[in-house]
């Protein structure tokens, strides 16, 4: 099975700092790949490189057979990659519905405004924001904004979803709800590349995990393999509790 997303030998420097180096990565259709690593490991940079916000210095990114290395963000979006940002970027003056309509309109399929609005409506309802359909995005709670971020990315009906710390800043109940939503998305067949620090979540959700440290791939494999890898444990300062499975302290 050819991978949906193939990242080969990816590299990026910012001034003197090597943010990402020699990175190989693969996400298959319908798979959820977790991307973890200590702070500053380069995870968000990888996302920026994939969706075109930043152009790589070296390497190739191939998505569904097409070479998207260095493409502008809007072209990457057209190929079917959507992103939910770590620091949420709501279109504050537009309503929740309109935010998602933008996502639907300009995503993978070149939809008409009316059709896009229908799809947006469905997604908003699925994600649980139906009551807030006409609320201005700027006046949502943090949890609401995070959910909107996700809904907006989903509205584009992507083949690959880049989730950047969608659980950050949520209380335990909200985390559970969000995990449910992510699992629903997975079941719908969307491939997901997920950056997360909430370990129990990433352990539960991921099919495979890639660990980054200082811009390089430290380890890769099934969650349990990675959790028991001594290099990984060391990278997280020897705190093996951090990588305990599903019901671990987190």
């Amino acid at each position: 099975m050819t991978a949906l997303l193939e990242v080969t030998d990816l590299g990026k420097r910012f001034g003197g700092v090597e943010a990402v180096a020699d990175l190989d990565l693969e996400v298959s259709a319908g798979e959820l790949l977790g991307l973890i690593g200590p702070n500053g490991a380069g995870k968000s940079t990888v996302f920026n490189l994939i969706n075109g916000v930043v152009a790589p210095d070296s390497g190739r990114i191939v998505f569904a057979g097409a070479n998207i290395t260095g493409n502008a963000p809007y072209i990457v979006a057209r190929h079917g990659i959507a992103r939910a940002h770590q620091i949420v970027q709501p279109l504050a003056g537009l309503s929740v519905l309109e935010n998602c309509t933008v996502g639907a309109c300009f995503g993978r399929d070149n939809l008409s405004l009316a059709r896009a609005r229908e799809i947006a409506r469905e997604v908003v309802t699925t994600v649980g924001l139906a009551e807030r359909m006409d609320t201005l995005a700027g006046s949502l709670t943090t949890a609401g904004k995070k959910r909107l971020e996700l809904a907006r990315a989903l509205s584009a009906r992507p083949r690959l979803l880049l989730l950047d710390e969608v659980l950050a800043g949520l209380n335990p109940t909200e985390v559970e709800e969000m995990i449910e939503i992510v699992q629903d998305i997975r079941r719908a067949g969307v491939a997901i590349l997920m950056i997360e620090h909430v370990m129990r979540a990433i352990m539960r959700l991921s099919d495979r995990i890639v660990v980054l440290d200082l811009g390089r791939k430290l380890a890769a494999g099934r969650p349990q393999e990675v959790a028991n890898d001594p290099k990984v444990i060391e990278a997280y300062l020897g705190d093996s509790n951090l990588l305990a499975t599903t019901d671990g302290a987190a």
């Binding site: 809007y74 279109l91 003056g93 537009l94 309109e98 896009a116 907006r152």
Partner: protein
Amino acid sequence: MISVRLSSFRPFPWLILIVTAAFALVPWWTDNVTWRENLILAALDITLASNLNLMLGYAGYVNFGNIVMFGLGGYIGVYLVSVWHWPLLGATLAGAIAVSIIAYLFGLGVLRLRGAYFALATIGVNEAVSVFVTNFEPWGGATGLYLSLGAYAPLGGPGRALWIVYFLMVAVMGLSLALSYAIRHSKFGLGLLAIGENEDAAATLGVPTRIYKAMVYSVSAFLPAIAGGLYFFKSGIIEPSGAFDLTTSIEAIVMVMLGGQGTVAGPAIGAFLYEELRGYLLTAQTFSHFQLVVAGLLLLVIVLFAPGGLLGFVHQKLPFTRRWLE
């Protein structure tokens, strides 16, 4: 503030139609030339403000040089009529098309940058084009171009020509409002609004930001260019300082902000209110310099305390107006 409902009846386009019809019919029925002269200026202001709003209110890009489109359209139109004896309609259309193409190309180059840089570039555009035209002999240099009385003959003489130009200007005003409305409810418009809210997020969502920005810049040049052709044909003379008057550019911005940027009716309301204000100031004070001070203070107050302008305020207090007065 925008509110999108799926109900089928949209009252606002009818309002546009009614207002346009009123502009056209009232002076004609009453055969009142004074009203016609006042209303043609109002129609011009509304045209300029509405089209400026496409960039300023929708996409969030300030175009300080918006008067350039008006002036260039005027120059091309008058030039084609006086030197090449083109008919009025053809000349103004040619001018508008030329200006739109130039705007698109200029936009593609300059709009790949952010709003701030674009704003700076447009500040200089007015000055640069003005200097260029002042030194451009084929267009009369500093003295400009004149239209002989013969130019009005194809339209049936100066008297009739003035009425024809009036109706055309009203049509341009109506088209401007209609265009503003149509874009607002289109996919293109949604993309522009997204750009105005958060350009990076819009790009990630798939909005082709650079192309959309260049397109709206180009589109926002078309009708003002026609208005320029019409206005200076009517005046019979065009010269650099009148065609590229920075004050008018600035006033258009104040009109949009005063009435409510991002709405369709806002710029029109702002244009009307500002006209009244300006008229009052000019008669109340002998110093026209204070016009600029007052406009500046007005703009400052709006930006600091009521960035949504008058219509934004009304929409907030009376939500039902969002559908009736977009």
